[in-house]
Point group: C2
Chain length 119, copies 2
């Protein structure tokens, strides 16, 4: 079933055991895909700023646009992405939508990242 995977690369494989172990521990394709998506979501100047801003306070699209100096449309597009990945949620109050972080993971991710770059 996966025997053909062994030979996709034509190079001389040096450490078969290591490769096999790595294959065993490997992330399932679905999880990998979602993980990558999550990091992609964090991997943008604008989105990162949005997420960091929402750590402390709830904000509406308009606030974020003013804060970041970009179009409300741009903010909205990015928020959609973040919503789809469940990184943010919103609550409607009249015509206004207040956005906030959905859980603590986002904050945690940025914190670990900061730890890394500060070393």
């Amino acid at each position: 079933m996966d025997s053909n995977q062994e030979d996709i690369c034509l190079c001389r494989v040096i450490h078969h055991e290591r490769i096999n172990q790595a294959r065993k521990e490997a992330l399932k394709e679905g999880e990998l895909e979602k993980t990558v998506q999550l990091f992609k979501a964090m991997a943008d100047h604008t989105r990162c700023r949005i997420l960091w801003a929402l750590t402390e306070v709830e904000m509406c699209v308009c606030d974020l646009a003013a804060l970041l100096g970009i179009t409300e449309s741009a903010v909205s597009h990015q928020l959609r992405l973040l919503r789809q990945l469940q990184l943010v949620t919103n609550r409607r109050q009249g015509a206004i939508l207040y956005y906030r972080l959905n859980d603590h993971h986002v904050h945690q991710l940025i914190s670990v990242a900061l730890e890394h770059i500060r070393e």
Copy 2:
């Protein structure tokens, strides 16, 4: 000095206090840039697999190419990026370079990401 920033967005700003607080807490531009770069590094199918594989075992370029089913060249290009961001290091033994994670942050980041997507 930053008074012009207040008005980049022409929209009606609703919550000035929140915006000001967010400005205070905001990441410094330099740190933000590095954080984004770090997440960019994690935000790729191939690099994510490389990093996850190196969590457990040291591997050479050739091993990784075989594991992932891509060119050694492609692996090498990605490793360069990961090296530049200090996510991996290598140790030379003869003609072979063994790569490994540089610190625990990478593993931690992926773990938090997995927690998030598993909810």
